[in-house]
Amino acid sequence: MIPSSDYLRDRQIVRGRIAIAVGGVLLLVAILIARLAYLQISQHQRFSTLAQNNRIDFVSMAPVRGLIYDRNGEILAENRRVYNVEILPDRVDDMNQLLGDLGQLIELSEEDVTRFKQLVRRQPSFDRQTLRTNLNEREAARIALHQHRHPGVELQARLQRHYPHGALTAHFLGYVGRINADDLKQIDPRAYRGLEYLGRTGIEAQYEETLRGRPGFERVETDAHGKVVRSLGKTLPSTGLTVHLSLDIEMQRAGMEALRGHRGAVVAIEPSTGDVLAFASEPGFDPNPFVNGISRGGYAHLLGSQDRPLLNRALYGRYAPGSTIKGFMLLTGLQHGIDPGERIFCPGWYSLPNRTHRYRDWKRGGHGWVDARTGIVQSCDVYFYRLARRLGIDHIHQGMSDLGFGRPTGVDLPGEPSGLMPSPQWKHQARGQAWFPGETVITGIGQGYMLVTPLQLAAVTAMLANRGRPVTPRFLVATENPQNRVRQAVAPANAKRAAIANRDFYAYVIDGMRGVVHDRRGTASRLRQGLRYEMAGKTGTAQVKSIPQNERYDESKLEKKHIDHSLFIGFAPLDQPKIAIAVVVENAGAGSRTAAPIARKLIDHYLLNRLGMFPGVDNLDTTVGR
């Protein structure tokens, strides 16, 4: 058959269009190839990384926090196994129903529930959240029994910090707390992978890095649903180092018990090393509730208490030192050429030339003729008024600062305040006022602007005990790797050189402070009784409220909060001192009355009971004739 013209024309038309279609197909292929080249060649690196990030996940394994021991191996901070109820919000259909059901099995406070709901709202729903911590055995058992009925509920055994000595150790040891949103801004997230707690205060904060350990992690491959498909490798966590402290928990207990019923602090230091033996601040508080976040009510109660139990008085309490600094004032004087044998007359008051204001001595009738030693032994205020006047505030400021006043001791605790050793410059800067001569006078007896912390007092006392070799108080004695038991001792950081070179000056002052306890007329002579060793000491009575010129100090007429603070510093034994101590008791009257007996009790306890010195020796005090 000959093709018709229609047939040829039709073929012509369609063939033309097919040619166009071929062009279209080639164009589409070109588009696809260009796009694929872009994705697979030019952008390959980027997508390869994204694919990798998609599938590789790190599951962190929290390290176990290092333990803390006292100097005799008594445990101060440990990790206890506790049971927590955790909930995976993703797997729960009806959260309110579930919380209601769980409320039948375990005790759930309103606060638990509110806190939990907040967490669930803020965190991704596939993150498990803790509903309640610290279940008791019975509650844990009930949850375990009913778990199968509540998908998404998990009973987790976790290690949680526990402080077995509670209030005894709260102030210096501090505590750990749950990591919160503010913390997350500051900490290195890699170092805290998988960790829930960090050291908040005290030793726990100071040695956070040592105690924390290194988190381990497991690289895992996960599918699109976050389910772990297989492990790609593991780095085990390394446990935090064990921390051995200088503190003696029995001394601490004795210190806290001695202070009971008062507000105050006791700091005891081993002079040769700087080891802090006791660091008591009364009243204390139980740190354990803080670990998981103390309840609002509990916290308000602690905060609202008049006695301010949360305040670490030993470290942060700043007190006028009163007469406790007289020995150091004398040291400064000797350094500036004061003749200790020179006698002055004490009529019971002192006045600046051409002034009528009378600076009173604590003893109304006066001490009569007084040399430097008597000035210390009897704590003659007039002697030190005159000494201060003679030295001038600039020399006092320089000398006392050299001895360690007005600057931090360098103890290994966070946030140590420096106290205050006033000077005209300081007053000008801080108050914008000129220095008055009378302020020099009262600085001589540790009144006025001067402020010390109990720790500072103990440190300078230890320095004195060392015959001038300054002491850096320290808590950390050694760290120990719990895995291989390798113990690394920390060398004491005490300075080698004395602040004042002349050893005779120390000998003179120490002799005076020996007299405070051992002389019949010493202000702390009541400590002599039954004393089996020789000691040096100095009482202090810090005025809280200034008494008008025409009135007398009468404790019975004063409010409790205006009664003088009672202070005492001392060390023993005299020749090879084992302990230097500072005691501050708020509003407890004269130093000799409250603080001195506490110091004696603690020194006795340490030397006789803890060190076992002077067994059976009834009375070393030969100056006392019975």
């Binding site: 039709d10 033309g16 997508f47």
Partner: protein, 361 residues
Amino acid sequence: MTGGNPTSPAVDMSLFTAIIMLCALSLLVQYSAGGENPEYLTRQGARIGFALALMLLFARIPPATLLRWSPWFYGAGLVLLVAVLMAGIIGKGAQRWIDLGVVRFQPAEIMKLAVPMMVAWVLTRLPLPPRPLGIIGSVAVVLLPVALVVVQPDLGTAILIAIAGTSVVFLAGIGWKFIVAVLLLLGVSAPLMWSMLLYDYQRLRVLTLLDPWADPLGAGYHIVQSIIAVGAGGLGGKGWLAGTQSRLDFIPERSTDFIFATYAEEFGFLGALILLMLYLFIGLRGLAISYYAHDSYARLLAGGLAVTFFVCVFVNIGMAAGILPVVGVPLPLLSHGGSSIAILMIGLGILMSIRRQRSRL
């Protein structure tokens, strides 16, 4: 030279070879995407085998017979579509399947063949190019099944049916003026169709395409994960069975609509090029068969099938590569799914039968 050429082999060997290579790739990538499940593999193998048999069967049916069947075929497809729709209304749920007990299939798939056949049948009643009457008839032939499929709703298949039909109209030599007019009309009515015809989720898919990274975990998730898989494949691919994006379930629909992402991740740019070349070969071979076909009906049908085949490839890969919105269009022969493979193979069989009756090749 009328009728068949008895000396021509029933099977176009080059086309057949390309198809077999694609089937082999299909089994490879399906084995990987299916989590190395041998049972899954045998099922896909069985489907491919069945489809190949259908292909060879249709390769033996002369185009003249197909021409005669066209109205019946089309009519039967319409009836089935209505039946599926009725069943859906009664069953209160979307319905796409007809269950014949032994086999379940989607009537909409039939329309991918029946519509180009019917349009070619309509247009070859009169001399080409189509006159207004033929155009109106063709439009009706296309729109009726498209409307029935859109309401299923199965936008992807509806689009393919529409493309299959219009490609035939285009090949029939419809005037350029008319084409421009239709494009203008589409442009003007696009906003209206956007708001009235598309479902919310479909609109979102189009919008997502503009910036999938705006919501990589939500609306953009499919596209983002697919692009990541494709890009991560790089030049040479991660290797067979080693694509993490697909095997760890990051790619959604990894054995069906997004099989290309699975393939491109494991076989890379070079693998994708091989795949594209195979598709290109089949498409061009189809157009060549059309070019040399014996009569207008065969020419139009072969051209329509070839164009549809390739558009299907383009839409699917374009979607997986993030240049087209997500629509449920399978990748020919690679995607998992019995109906679509069977219909494709029948289409390829028809191409072979037209090739047999060629005038000159």
